[in-house]
Symmetry: C2
Subunit: 414 residues, 2 copies
């Protein structure tokens, strides 16, 4: 491959986020500034599939440029995404396609699975002396990548979850005796469920994260405690706690079917229904309390792509990482993931770099000191961590400590 | 009951909305202006329960006044709500409580069930010559009350649903072969599901409203058509279509259990799971198409109380109806519901009045000409109806008609 100008290719991978297109437009904006060196940037339709099947589009095209500002603020993967791991023959094909189209810069926007794919592709390039510069731009609402202070996509999803938690508690407060259980995304890590605590300290929330082994009996006791203390319980569980229910000792094989295909936890209400049944049984049968409302919601896929709820700093950082990927590629850097490095609570993060090996297939769980001692909520340290990523929530407040006026009649039995 | 100054009482009833507290603060603000005549306004904790058990709070109290501005913009029923129909002994008790506390104005904020309660209470007052002025302020996200152009609460919930539909289609577009089914609130009427069309004409949505008998076989055909035409299907069904599945001819008794307790449709994923199974069976077995993603979400209770998504006009109108209720009561009007009367598309609605009999227990369904001929979407007439209630959505747009660059290699078989 010899040529005067370089061509780049962008691949979006894994689940979409609200700011994944900020990174894309960041790449395109930076590439335009380097157009003396960089001829054009292609995009692969639907992730690696697009590369393998040569379904490529020219993103530097003038018609496409007009769309950049709107595109950047559009949640969802504009190029289309996929979840595939390149097999040996796929990797071979990938290099054929890149060679045929004279592509020498590969920008991979994704999570820990795509860091693995980027690692494999990078190793193959090195082994075959293909002049590839490959850079991975982190993206995940799960916030579970190593080596970066936080992940683009997380702040916006956290903002959505905080608003959902707030909405749900306002709804819950509207009823006299009410228990509400919400199932939040997060299979392995509890970062997103934890963000529901941003809804405010006046919400007596119970939050369950997969980092802490989930015990149904303790859960039910916690709900009872909240109900007795506050007259209600507003609960957020990360969907990943289902794994503890399936694999744990508390439930036999018979109970497994309750959860269907685990890969679909966000698209089904089964976990919520299961927890409602458990709480109902406890209140009805053990406590003999029947006059209460017990409901569940599963917040589903809208957590990751809700327009109008995008965190300003998240959008900004996603864009900056896209820009930086191009600058680094042009300056000769390859085989790295871009990272966000905290410089203190009130200062924007610096952009850093780390080896792909340190990220690929690894999962960063919440540190124990971000989770409270009881394993059913977060600590102030977590809220300090979260603060720089979040926009403030418009203040809402039900009546504070409404005092009843003096009664004048004997009690009423209905 | 004789006294110089009048006392009022506010009752919030039924499911909460994002603007029900606007009506409450509208009442309080107007009552303050009439304080030469109106001594104070009480609020009943948790609807009629609060009246029956004398759980009343003084809302004109200075400490409470400081909270009004924040309270008005807070979704959820700040006084607490309930769903009970007064029995004969309840009505008797109600008048004892009102007499004991010298209450002569009763403001009932609610839907068609509470209009019925207000009607019963009003009739009892007339029969017993109790000097009561009772006014009903409409409130429902379902938008299903007769005699009013639309209902406070609907515009904000419609805004949420439109954003959810948009988010969901952006997520859905991120995948190559994807079918997504969303279950929206709306038991008897499809107004809220229909509002998902506000997300934009570029979304190839299928919308199913309870006004049209739901046929599973036609539904599955529609999904297939959307999939073949657009490469995806983004579907919104009103939860109420479950009744057609239970009662219709298409499904036997055996299928009833799929839906659990119908009063809990919003708090379970069963309808969505059921529809996913039906679509999956059709694609896998009938069409022999297996490589596609089929998921469902149930949008749940956050549809009615999400902060940050409140429609400006909705908030405004809810406040105005609260204000008007006091003005009318002071001027001697009683036994009426406040209504919104359209004066044309670009002019604010006038506040009107109607007899409680015309609203109580009645349901306003969507007119046939708001639903398309195929029964799977809305008409421009519906969008014209909806337009004055909605804020514009921040423009978002995926890549428009991305054109693939020329391929250079033979096709690839993975």
């Amino acid at each position: 491959v010899t040529q005067d100008k370089i061509r780049g290719l962008v691949v979006q991978s894994g689940g979409p986020t609200a700011v994944i297109n900020q990174s894309l437009v960041g790449i395109l904006t930076s590439a335009q500034k380097h157009n003396a060196h960089l001829e054009t940037v292609y995009g692969a339709r639907f992730g690696l599939h697009g590369v393998l099947h040569e379904n490529l589009i020219d993103l530097s095209h003038r018609e496409t440029q007009d769309q950049w500002p709107t595109l950047a603020q559009t949640p969802g993967a504009a190029l289309g995404s996929a979840r595939i791991k390149p097999k040996a023959q796929d990797t071979k094909r990938l290099f054929q396609v890149m060679e045929a189209h004279k592509i020498q810069y590969l920008f991979y926007i994704g999570g820990n699975d795509s860091a693995e794919a980027a690692l494999l592709i990078g190793a193959e390039a090195t082994a075959n002396c293909y002049p590839l510069r490959i850079l991975h731009i982190p993206k995940t609402i799960d916030n579970d990548l190593m080596m970066t202070h936080h992940c683009p996509g997380y702040g916006s999803a956290a903002n959505v979850v905080a608003h959902f938690a707030l909405a749900d508690d306002l709804d819950n407060q509207s009823f006299q005796h009410s228990i509400k259980i919400n199932v939040c995304m997060g299979r392995h890590a509890g970062w997103l469920a934890a963000a529901s605590a941003w809804a405010g300290p006046h919400i007596p929330q119970l939050i369950y994260m997969p980092e802490i082994p989930f015990q149904l009996s303790k859960f039910v006791q916690d709900v009872q405690w909240s109900y007795e203390t506050y007259g209600r319980a507003t609960v957020v569980v990360a969907e990943g706690i289902a794994d503890h229910l399936i694999n744990g000792t508390g439930l036999g094989d018979q109970d497994m079917d309750e959860f269907g295909n685990p890969s679909r936890l966000s698209g089904t209400g089964k976990l919520g229904d299961y927890l409602v049944c458990a709480v109902e049984k406890h209140f009805h049968q053990t406590l003999n309390i029947r006059k209460l409302r017990i409901r569940s919601d599963t917040w589903g896929y809208i957590q990751r792509t809700l327009p109008n709820m995008v965190s300003t700093i998240d959008a900004n950082e996603a864009f900056r990482l896209g820009e930086a990927a191009v600058t680094h590629a042009v300056s000769g850097i390859s085989h790295k993931m871009l990272t966000l490095q905290s410089q203190g609570a009130d200062v924007p993060c610096d952009v850093g770099l780390c080896p792909l090996e340190d990220v690929a297939q690894k999962t960063r769980l919440m540190p124990r000191d971000f989770i409270n001692a009881l394993g059913n909520g977060v600590t102030p340290a977590f809220l300090d961590y979260l603060k720089p990523l979040m926009d403030p929530i418009t203040p809402v407040q039900m009546l504070k400590e409404p005092r009843l006026i003096q009664k004048k009649l004997p009690p009423y039995q209905r």
